[in-house]
């Protein structure tokens, strides 16, 4: 009796297992098209047309089964992340989270050689620990500063106190100093400057505002202004043209070399003269050399 029951139970369990597995394996004639970005699956299999005709519970059930099958195919699978990952650099396995993920207390690391130029009396472990503490403290300070800055930027700051509070930053102090300077009877015009204060007061708009000029304005005046500017620019060009000097030197050298070669070639006779260098013919270069070089200008840039 018990055996039969056990068998029955086992068979039932197996049946359940098979059922579960069946429920996640789906077979389709045509492969589905997946759009993973939108988590979309397109099923191009022809549906059983006969069963879909006519509204009713049978149609509903069929559609539901179809949807379930396709969802299985689109399913998100569980990828078990290992807790240990291989570190190529150190050739060891490191934890992805948890104990000693980031390395841990440097003082507990294995013995290191002294870095070059280190004080022989200094305790390396203590130095590492101290540096880490400093780094953490600096990081924390920066984080708090960032928070404060964000908080300040987010909320419109109510009028900052004009007396020194000890918790003001550079910008606030500058603002306060400017207000203090202007709050005299002559609105700060005859106020002597502090040793390190900038000479002229920086403009309130930070130098961004420009006088509005009329668009059309006076075109003739604009033209004359531009011509004058051109004149000024032209007159500033250097008189000694380095490139020209260099070119002249090079031409001289070439001429000398050509003369020397010419002597040799005339010794060789007709054959030598026929093998003259190309590009030396008088027509092109001669015509171009006729072009006047403008006085002092043209090659400064």
């Amino acid at each position: 009796m018990a055996a039969v029951r056990v068998e029955a139970v086992l068979a039932a369990a197996e049946e359940q297992e098979a059922e579960k597995r069946r429920s996640i394996t789906v077979e389709k004639e045509l492969e589905l098209e997946f759009d993973l970005g939108n988590l979309l699956a397109l099923d191009r299999n022809p549906p059983p047309a006969a069963a879909l005709r006519g509204a009713g519970p049978r149609r509903e059930a069929l559609l539901r089964a179809l949807a379930r099958d396709n969802t299985q195919l689109l399913g998100i699978r569980r990828r078990k992340k290992t807790s240990l990952v291989w570190d190529e650099k150190k050739k060891k396995k490191k934890r992805r989270w948890g104990y000693r993920r980031a390395g841990g207390d440097p003082a507990r690391k294995k013995k290191k050689k002294k870095p070059a130029g280190a004080d022989p009396e200094e305790d390396q472990f203590a130095r590492l620990r101290r540096e880490k503490r400093e780094r953490v403290a600096r990081n924390e300070l920066n984080r708090l500063r960032n928070l404060a800055r964000a908080h300040r930027a987010g909320s419109a700051v109510p009028a900052a106190p004009l007396h020194p509070t000890g918790h003001q930053d550079r910008e606030e102090l500058r603002r306060v100093a400017r207000v203090a300077r202007v709050s005299t009877a002559s609105l700060g015009r005859f106020q002597p400057r502090l040793p390190k204060e900038p000479a002229e007061p920086p403009s309130r708009s930070g130098g961004k505002k420009r006088k509005k000029k009329k668009k059309k304005g006076n075109l003739a005046a604009e033209r004359s202004r531009q011509l004058k500017l051109l004149q000024d620019m032209g007159s500033k060009k250097p008189v000694l043209d380095i490139t020209r000097a260099v070119n002249k030197q090079m031409r001289q050298e070439e001429a000398e070399a050509a003369a020397h070669k010419g002597k040799k070639q005339s010794q060789r006779g007709k054959r030598g003269r026929r093998q003259q260098r190309p590009g030396r013919s008088g027509k092109k270069s001669g015509a171009r050399r006729q072009q006047q070089k403008p006085a002092g200008g043209g090659t400064g840039g």
Partner: protein
């Protein structure tokens, strides 16, 4: 749209001067009408007075391009000359480079000009001088900067770059969306 400030005008004239020298005054001071430079959305435009008056009546957001764009000011306020200025630079160019028919296409695709593609070059071109590039049929193709002076060009080997490409008319097709 606004006129250029002193500093901006200086930057533009310096750049133009590299290609056309003192002929800029022929652009500023024209016998056939008053022309001016205007800045619109960081781009410098060259337009006649008549066009200026018309463009002034267009709201700023709807205005695409008043006149011919000569170039634009980059974010760091450097002036960059664009190919649309070629029609005005080509007649006044001081230093010219002619390119052989074989390497015309290469230049129009945006490559530099090699010695093997160089047809002619104006005498006395200094190194890093702004030049206007022509085809052998005297059609302006674009502009560039001379990589070597004329003297050096004669000596250098055939695969060396002699003109750095800056702008070519092929950009009308390549960058048709961004040109104004």
């Amino acid at each position: 749209m606004r006129p250029l400030t002193e500093a901006e005008t200086r930057a533009v004239f310096e750049k133009l001067g590299k290609y056309i020298g003192e002929n800029i005054q022929l652009l500023v001071d024209r016998p056939d009408g008053t022309y001016c430079f205007r800045l619109h959305r960081d781009r410098v435009y060259y337009l006649s007075e008549k066009l200026l008056k018309l463009a002034a009546s267009v709201p700023r957001d709807s205005l695409v391009a008043p006149g011919t764009c000569f170039g634009k000011f980059t974010k760091s306020q450097k002036f960059r000359l664009s190919i649309t200025a070629l029609d005005f630079l080509a007649p006044y160019a001081k230093y010219k480079v002619w390119v052989k028919p074989g390497s015309e296409q290469s230049f129009l695709y945006g490559n530099h000009v090699l010695k093997s593609g160089l047809g002619r070059i104006t005498e006395n071109t200094a190194q890093y001088q702004g030049v206007v590039v022509y085809s052998m049929a005297d059609v302006p193709l674009g502009f560039g900067v001379a990589a070597k002076s004329t003297q050096e060009c004669r000596k250098v080997d055939p695969l060396a770059i002699v003109v750095f490409h800056q702008a070519d008319v092929g950009e009308y097709v390549r960058n048709e969306d961004t040109l104004t």
